[in-house]
């Protein structure tokens, strides 16, 4: 393994983020509480710089640290998305933490550390690097989920997330070690060439594939590895939930796709059949269980499970597809889906985070009753997010579904698209129920305890960005499509 000093420059974005995280942790005890707002701006500034550096790396394809890390367009796509979502998280948290009186400076440090882990995940060309990134991300998220120390549900979420997360990491690690046994390497290109055109007749390879799939299944919250999701999403502070639902899922998809397309691509006919089953189960369970939720965070949790199912359609199609061009198109559709999903889900959580009822979070669906009358703009934005989540044009959610269904049809799975669309109709019911509650019911008497929305400048920025993303990419997805198409070329 060779190490050249120039490699450090290639991972500059990651180093920036880690340095900023350390700085936040060091400054936090030094600063007086009134000055701690500055930590948010510090984090935000770092993220903006980071996005600039990542953007400048687009177009290159370089390995670093002896092939442990790879900087290519695929990694850059995810890093841009992750940095953007983290920036939104910082902005949302700035408003949310004030409202919750959770003035903890380390918070931003954890956001940055989790981001660093995610960036390592999507940029890793070696299974152990991926594992390290996953752990860094997960450990930070475990802490963040439990940040509401006075709230038992938050602690429960943290503990549950930790136990199941550690368990799934173990499974992933076990899979990696078996794969090492079968192929003699943990590097993805080496694994790919060792597998060649082997099939899963090799029991070691079979076990390794299943364990790695299960390990990622936990991170992606794919049925049947989804059990932790509703409890953790509900219990965690809402800004953290938004971060988990979007960023951690995006990073997991980034690493997952690279492992299965680049590393285990030779086995794609085998694993695509497995993911086909998981995909249908995820779509069915996520959408059907979401129907009966009364808590909006739980509903959005199940909805995020269902959306992982839609993204999985692209993964299945990528494996199913006979030609490599179709396969890459399918991967691109997954990238697009997750990017569009990021905008609409983050926006929805942002509205939920700032809806207060008598000093605490109003997170029952009933609390949205008559929101259109009290806060017409907020209700309208929520309507846009719900319509987009339901996949109705002209929103980004429709474009995301359009591309994954297109890849399914191209791969010769039109019936999978039909199944998924049937569940999309099911999902329309629960998304529109929220619209119905907001628009078609009269709000009760206005009291001190009635739900109200706390607006703040940073929340406005978050909502503007997410709404603009949903609407603009719904009408004109071209730029993002080009970026995703460019990104997947790196996986060839």
């Amino acid at each position: 393994m060779t190490f050249s000093p120039g490699d450090v420059l290639l991972v500059l974005p990651e180093l920036f983020v880690i340095a900023a995280a350390c700085l936040v942790l060091v400054l936090e005890p030094i600063l007086v509480p009134q000055q701690r707002d500055g930590l948010a701006w510090l984090s935000l500034g770092t993220l903006v710089v980071c996005m600039g550096v990542v953007a400048s790396q687009i177009g290159s394809k370089t390995e670093a640290f002896g092939g442990l890390v790879i900087i290519d367009d695929y990694a850059c796509f995810w890093k841009l998305l992750l940095c953007f979502v983290s920036a939104l998280t910082v902005l949302l948290s700035y408003a949310y933490l004030k409202e919750e009186r959770l003035q903890i400076g380390e918070y931003y440090g954890f956001v940055l550390l989790a981001l660093a882990g995610m960036m390592v995940m999507v940029s890793a060309a070696d299974l152990l690097t991926i594992y390290l990134g996953t752990e860094l991300m997960s450990l930070s998220l475990y802490v963040m989920a439990g940040l509401k120390r006075t709230e038992p549900r938050s602690l429960e979420a943290s503990a549950k997330y930790f136990v199941l997360g550690a368990f799934s990491s173990g499974i992933l690690l076990y899979g990696i070690s078996l794969l090492y046994g079968a192929t003699g390497s943990t590097r993805l290109p080496a694994i790919a060439s060792a597998i060649g055109s082997q099939s899963l007749d090799n029991p070691l390879l079979l076990a390794a594939t299943i364990l790695i799939a299960a390990g990622f299944g936990f991170k992606l919250a794919v049925v049947p590895f989804h059990m932790w999701t509703p409890d953790v999403y509900q219990g965690a502070p809402t800004s953290v939930t938004a971060f988990m639902a979007v960023a951690s899922k995006a990073a997991s998809f980034g690493a997952f796709l690279r492992v299965f397309i680049e590393g285990l691509g030779g086995l794609k006919t085998d694993w695509s059949a497995v993911f086909l089953l998981l995909c249908i189960a995820t779509l069915a369970l996520g959408n059907i269980v979401a129907l009966v939720q009364t808590n909006i965070k739980r509903m959005l949790a199940y909805s995020s499970i269902a959306h992982a199912g839609y993204a999985l359609i692209g993964v299945v199609a990528a494996g199913w597809s006979g030609n490599s061009a179709g396969s890459l198109n399918s991967v691109a559709s997954v990238l697009l889906y997750i990017a569009f999903y990021a905008f609409m889900t983050f926006g929805a959580f942002a509205v939920v985070a700032l809806l207060r009822k008598g000093g605490i979070e109003g997170e029952e669906i009933e609390d949205f009753t008559g929101l259109a009358k009290r806060h017409p703009l907020a209700a309208f934005l929520m309507l846009v997010f719900m319509v987009s989540l339901a996949g109705i044009p002209p929103t980004a959610g429709f474009m995301g579904k359009f591309y994954v269904f297109m890849s399914a049809v191209e791969a010769g799975l039109p019936w999978l698209a039909v199944i998924a669309l049937v569940f999309a109709v099911v999902s329309a019911y629960y998304y529109l129920r929220l619209v119905m509650v907001m628009y078609m019911r009269e709000p009760g008497e206005l009291t001190a305890d009635s739900p109200r929305l706390v607006m703040s400048p940073t929340l406005s920025v978050v909502l503007t960005c997410t709404t603009a993303g949903v609407v603009i990419f719904g009408l004109y997805p071209g730029p993002l499509v080009n970026l995703a198409t460019l990104a997947v070329q790196a996986l060839k």
Partner: protein, 519 residues
């Protein structure tokens, strides 16, 4: 034939821009803004009627731009003799919808008017779109504003009706999306409707695609047995919503059959024609029969719509020029007549706040002018000669008679039943003795309401007496669809309108060079 002025884009964008502008005006001004925008849209659409080249079967006023590069999705618009009348019908009806809502909508006027304008833009988009994805986007984009129109401003059971409408139509149209994608890969990697229409597909594929398109279009029409959302939605929607639903939205289903199913999937259409004709006959008789039993005026009109739309689908699947022209005529006629009837119910509902026939009896004495309008629209609805519906229904029945005599005989039953439920309704509503509780509220129609109703009355008689301008415009296009889908040419034409007979041989030859282009 290219026009430099982007007529269709303006027609679509103007209402959408109007909806956006409504965000920045006060509630009081919202009505005027909406009226101004819809009237402007009408005035822009009218020149199309004369600029349209009635001798051509080609798409006119075409506009094309790349919307999304991968896959190639275009912003492609165009008009032919089938979509032109439907677009003009839409632009005529929209100002009337704004006018009828002038007083009856009291809450959130801005949002209401914005929804109407968004609907207008999307509806024109559906009729003008020549790219399948673009069509789908407009088609689906309509769901949310309509859902809100019913659910926010509707009657007592509005939430149920809104959700039912939404889920029904969404469920229908999901298969449409898959069909569009399958067509893309089977039809040479294009979403262009014209290119897809000239492709050939295996019969087994056609059957599956036909069923998928059928799910979307049959729910929208609605054909029996997918009609159950319609009475709920019509009854609970505010008047303007009912008018839009009945007059325009239902036509999108039959338009879809004519624009996509017939030209793209001719073999499957032929295969399913007996089923389609059977369902149409059931709809005609069942709808009329149900209408007989209704005590609610709006429900009566809703079921009469099911019956009338049965004539449209019947005409489409006769596969001859009379049947299809009759169907297109009937689409326009039903829009005018049923729109007029819903406006009439809206007028009376504003006064008595009841839609029950039993509450609204004997209106001739207190409201003579109103009774005239009601009777005109009602007689048009039953297809009295001299009114618009007679022309359409006659053509449909003539076409059906040529292809299937039994079906024609059964469909005629529907006309008799229509006479029964309409005349019985008139007898009660117009000529009874008004109930004393409601009598004080029965003011005659105001000038605003007159303005709302008169344009439709003019159209009822104009089309009824002189349908030729309409027929000549649609003739080449309908003929094109027929010869495209079913070469050799259909049965000889009955002598209805002399000029048409002369056009037929010329139009039959026009598609031939295109045929030669195919590999």
């Amino acid at each position: 034939m290219t026009h430099s002025f982007p007529w269709l884009t303006v027609l679509i964008v103007l209402p959408l821009a109007g909806a956006l502008a409504l965000c920045f005006v006060k509630d009081a001004a919202a009505r005027m803004v909406a009226l101004g925008v819809t009237v402007a849209d009408l005035l822009i659409s009218l020149p199309l009627w004369w600029l349209f080249d009635a001798t051509s079967s080609q798409m006119q006023f075409m506009e094309q731009a790349v919307w999304i590069a991968t896959p190639p999705i275009h912003y492609k618009l165009g008009l032919d003799g089938i979509s032109l009348p439907l677009i003009i019908m839409t632009t005529v009806l929209m100002p009337l919808c704004v006018l009828i809502s002038w007083r009856s909508i009291e809450t959130k006027i801005r949002s209401f008017m914005a929804m109407l304008l968004i609907m207008e833009g999307a509806m024109i988009g559906v009729f003008a779109a020549l790219d399948f994805v673009l069509f789908y986007v407009f088609w689906e984009a309509m769901l949310i504003p309509m859902y809100l129109l019913i659910g926010v401003w509707g009657g007592p059971n509005r939430v149920y009706a809104a959700v039912k409408f939404f889920l029904y139509t969404l469920a229908g149209s999901v298969l449409l999306l898959v069909a569009i994608l399958v067509l893309y890969f089977q039809g040479g990697h294009t979403f262009d409707v014209l290119l897809l229409s000239s492709g050939t597909y295996t019969t087994s594929l056609q059957v599956l695609l036909f069923l998928a398109l059928f799910a979307a279009f049959a729910v929208k029409v609605p054909m029996f047995p997918f009609h159950t959302w319609l009475p709920d939605a019509h009854v609970e929607a505010p008047t303007a919503g009912s008018v839009i639903l009945a007059s325009v939205l239902l036509k999108m289903g039959t338009y879809g059959f004519l624009r996509f199913s017939l030209p793209m999937l001719p073999d499957a259409s032929k295969l399913f024609a007996p089923l389609m004709i059977t369902l149409s006959i059931i709809a005609i008789i069942y709808g009329a029969y149900m209408a007989l039993a209704q005590a609610d005026l709006k429900k009566l009109i809703a079921y009469s719509s099911v019956s009338h739309m049965g004539f449209v689908t019947l005409g489409l699947f006769t596969f001859n020029i009379q049947g299809i022209e009759g169907a297109v005529m009937q689409m326009v006629n039903h829009g005018i007549t049923t729109g007029g009837l819903f406006l009439c119910v809206g007028v009376i509902y504003e006064r008595t706040h009841s839609r029950q026939i039993a509450d609204n009896i004997g209106l001739t004495k207190p409201m003579p002018r109103y009774a005239i309008f009601l009777v005109i629209f009602a007689l048009s609805s039953l297809g009295l000669p001299g009114t618009n519906s007679f022309v359409g229904e006659f053509l449909v029945l003539a076409g059906t008679f040529l292809s299937n005599k039994l079906a024609a005989a059964l469909a005629s039953l529907g006309i008799i039943l229509a006479a029964a439920y309409i005349l019985w309704m008139i007898q009660r509503v117009a000529f009874g003795v008004p109930s004393p509780t409601y009598l004080p509220k029965l003011r005659d129609v105001t000038n605003r309401e007159m303005v709302t109703l008169i344009p439709l009355v003019v159209l009822v008689f104009w089309i009824g007496v002189f349908p030729n301008p309409l027929l000549t415009r649609m003739h080449p296009s309908v003929n094109h669809v027929l010869t495209r889908a079913f070469p050799p040419p259909p049965a000889p034409v009955m002598t209805l309108d002399e000029p048409d007979v002369l056009v037929v041989p010329a139009a039959e030859e026009s598609p031939l060079p295109e045929e030669a282009d195919q590999p």
